[in-house]
Symmetry: C2
Subunit: 114 residues, 2 copies
DNA sequence: GCTTATACATAATATTCTTATGTATATTTA
DNA sequence: TAAATATACATAAGAATATTATGTATAAGC
């Protein structure tokens, strides 16, 4: 796990990226997907995720659909047209930002898997 | 300029990195250096920087030396032994984190200058 | 003389996260 | 089969870290 301050600020962008790729996802699924993709290094907490999802909905970037699985409830999130535009913007900003970080921290930073 | 949320959490690490490289720096110099290195994309505000420097000092990671330039005052910051160890740790964490971000956002992310 | 740059600092506010707590169903394992 | 773990949602109190605004003062450029 990273010291949480680094992850701070990236959550919304991560969620938008996943929704853009997967079409629709529910909260718990998002936490597991991120955990998988990052080998457990990033573990999104529920206290952070659900408020973020709710705020994305309030901003009109996602719509929800509630599905019953047996007696349990799942709430799927999916991007709106606005949400797709925002995702594109945020993702391009993130790509640019990561490039800038690589300049700041040396071009070998973040290349462990190369 | 990036939407501020992305930069959030990286400030302390940026400062430690610069101090490690430059030996000693004063506050204003740090803001200019970061602005230069990032082509203006990251502009550290004073309200963020000075509290951060003060907290690094309170934690024992830097010492200060006040120098008079004419009638004006400059406060130089320099890493302690503890500070150097922390810098190493933070920088390696940052490198790892950037690698993880590149996995999450696609390996072309952050490679604009390649 | 006026504007901009240099150089420090702090306070009120906003944002975003952690930690703790709550509810409930489903599955695995001892 | 009882207990533990996993699935699945949610919110509230508090902490951390930034923004924005404000304050003080000297130096340089136009």
């Amino acid at each position: 796990m990273y010291s949480s301050e680094l992850i701070r600020g990236t959550l919304k962008t991560i969620v938008l990226k996943l929704l853009k790729e997967e079409g629709k996802m529910y909260g718990y699924e998002i936490t597991q997907k991120v955990k998988d993709l990052t080998a457990g290094k990033i573990q999104i907490t529920e206290g952070a995720l659900y408020p973020t999802l709710h705020s994305l909905e309030a901003e009109g970037f996602v719509t929800t659909e509630t599905v019953h699985i047996g007696r349990r409830v799942r709430k799927y999130y999916k991007l709106t047209t606005d949400g797709r535009a925002t995702a594109r913007k945020k993702l391009s900003e993130m790509a640019d930002f990561l490039g800038t970080m690589r300049i700041l921290f040396g071009s070998d930073a973040g290349m462990k898997h190369a």
